[in-house]
């Protein structure tokens, strides 16, 4: 990654500051002069239609995009963790070793144990990843990210593959964990309700640019019944090109169905192996 400079500790400097970020894939502009900044311990949800560049932006910030086309400023904290949509656990390592993977220091294992207990998986340290359910695997992935005490947590539709009930439980867990560890968070999601439930700010991405940047000012128990919630939801759906007034409120693009069409360059470059 280009400039992963540690943020200067003068005033409340933003955790992430991006100006004029451009990323092209074979001449096609996926990120187009994009500007974004995220304050420390701010929770930002990034929504947008498939192909709007959400995942591309996240990959740039995560340092796994090695071919960024250009930028004026690209500042991200030194310590960034990524939670992928798939839990991405190494199948040949037990749960505890997956969490402790690459952790420095002699207390790595103890810290990994604590992190597992935090996500409610104490006692499953010696299980193989295949023995866990999808939700449990994603909790291990959360523990693996948080055990590193990240200044910035990037999450690419982390709950997209989970069933609705498990997803709600994970929302609660993520909220608790973020309240405790206070990282800046950038959560990519297709789900407007997920964005409103979790984020301080919702950023709508369209054609590689920020189309809207809205503060979530829904009062504390963000229940879908309140008028403010409904208004914000309608506004976001309209921004995503859906008509919230057309009969029943349309679901914001079924996350399961529309993921594969995202423009993430998952297979754009060949494996380095």
């Amino acid at each position: 990654m280009a400039t992963h400079s540690g943020g200067l500790t003068t005033a409340p400097a933003p955790a992430v500051r991006i100006t004029s970020l451009v990323r092209e894939f074979a001449g096609r502009r996926v990120l187009d002069e994009l500007d974004l900044s995220i304050a420390p311990d701010e929770f930002v949800a990034l929504i947008g239609r498939s192909g709007s560049g959400k995942s591309t932006l996240l990959r740039v910030l995560g340092g796994i995009d090695h071919e960024v086309t250009g930028y004026e400023e690209l500042t991200a904290p030194e310590n960034v963790s990524v939670v992928f949509q798939d839990a991405r656990l190494l199948p040949w390592k037990r749960v505890l070793d997956n969490v402790a993977l690459g952790l420095p220091g002699s207390d790595a294992e103890a810290r990994a144990r604590t992190a597992l207990a935090e996500v409610g998986l104490a006692g499953r340290e010696n299980a193989w990843p295949v023995e866990l359910s999808g939700g449990e695997q994603q909790r291990v992935a959360l523990a693996r990210s948080l055990v590193r005490d990240p200044e910035l947590l990037l999450a690419d539709e982390p709950f997209g593959a989970l069933d609705a009930l498990t997803r709600l439980r994970m929302h609660t867990l993520l909220k608790q964990l973020c309240a405790r560890h206070r990282p800046a968070v950038l959560l990519v999601t297709h789900d407007v309700d997920e964005a409103i439930a979790l984020a301080d700010r919702v950023v709508v991405l369209d054609h590689g640019r920020i189309a809207a940047d809205l503060r979530v000012d829904v009062p504390a128990p963000r229940s879908p019944g309140t008028a403010r919630y409904a208004a914000l939801r309608d506004e976001l759906l309209t921004l995503l090109g859906l008509d919230p007034t057309a009969g029943t409120v349309p679901e914001p693009a079924d996350p399961g169905a529309s993921q594969p069409t995202d423009t993430t360059p998952k297979n754009a470059k060949g494996s380095d192996l």
């Binding site: 796994i64 963790s81 992928f84 991405r88 190494l90 199948p91 040949w92 690459g102 494996s271 192996l273």
Partner: protein, 299 residues
């Protein structure tokens, strides 16, 4: 069953669920109560239930034919010694220590060839798998080598290294190297690029990446290669020991041929067979231990 039905109502129809169907036209007395549901007796098309110790039937049958043939004098002693002669020869060979000496010489050759070949194959596969340049340099020659049987290289190897121990070990090494390289390389290339990304986000060092991702990811391929390699090592051993050796199981058999001792030849064959079975079993055991994280149909 249930093909014959008399005119009277069958009393044991209750006990036999497969009672006659009511639609038989010649059935005189009309059924007083509905016939019990007819159970379909399907024809079994699969091979059926496994027989315990079925794998032993064929070999035991062969042994029986061999014993009977020898006892009855149908098999000429000069062509094939009787089983009991083979056993007593084996006992003699063990008692005077000759079998152990030859076995040790053979094992030493096979093991050192195996060790060199596995090490070389593994290193080459890693270099070819982890760098594009390495792949360009290494993969071509190994693929070419793959299409030349190692045993065809023996004349050349004899000219270069003589007929001593080094020629034998090198022949075995060359035979072992290829399957280890091919399967390990294949395993390496098959590692999911998502794990590479993961390693990057976790900021693993080059060595950490190798240790935690690359090597475990390539292990299934490597172990498969090792199984082929072990078989190949014994195969090469048999040939090189009969080329020009003064020790080893192959030499013992070659010597026995000149004296027409079929019993000694058979002892050698049995030893080769046992060695092959034993070593394959060991590798499979290692496979099961090392790959316990996998849940596949085969394991």
């Amino acid at each position: 069953m249930s093909t014959e039905v008399s005119g009277r109502e069958v009393v044991e129809a209750e006990a036999k669920p497969a009672a006659p169907a009511p639609q038989r036209p010649q059935d005189a007395s009309p059924p007083r109560r509905p016939a019990p549901p007819r159970r379909r007796r399907g024809r079994r098309l699969g091979p059926g239930r496994p027989i315990p110790f079925a794998w032993g039937i064929g070999p035991l049958l062969l042994l029986a034919i061999w014993s009977v043939g020898s006892a009855a004098g149908w098999i000429d002693e000069r062509n094939l010694s009787a089983p009991w002669d083979v056993v007593s020869t084996a006992v003699e060979l063990i008692e005077d220590g000759r079998l152990q000496d030859h076995l040790w010489a053979s094992t030493e050759r096979a093991l050192s060839g195996l060790a060199f070949g596995v090490a070389a194959g593994l290193v080459l596969a890693l270099v070819a798998g982890l760098s594009r340049l390495g792949e360009g340099v290494i993969d071509g020659p190994v693929q070419i080598k793959r299409s030349i049987p190692s045993l065809a290289l023996i004349p050349l190897l004899i000219l270069w290294f003589g007929i001593g121990e080094s020629m034998k070990v090198i022949t075995i090494t060359l035979g072992v190297l290829v399957p280890v390289y091919i399967h390990t390389h294949n395993g390496l290339r098959g590692i999911d690029s998502r794990y590479v990304e993961l390693a990057e986000t976790l900021r693993l060092s080059r060595w950490g990446f190798l240790r935690h991702v690359v090597l475990p990811g390539a292990l299934p391929g490597f172990l498969l290669g090792l199984r082929f390699a072990v078989t190949s090592a014994w195969l090469s051993l048999v040939v090189v020991e009969q080329v020009n050796a003064t020790s080893g199981i192959g030499y013992m058999m070659e010597l026995a041929r000149t004296y027409g001792q079929t019993d000694v030849i058979l002892v050698g064959l049995v030893v080769y067979g046992l060695l092959g079975l034993l070593s394959d079993g060991l590798v499979r055991l290692a496979q099961r231990k090392a790959l316990s994280w996998r849940r596949t149909l085969a394991d």
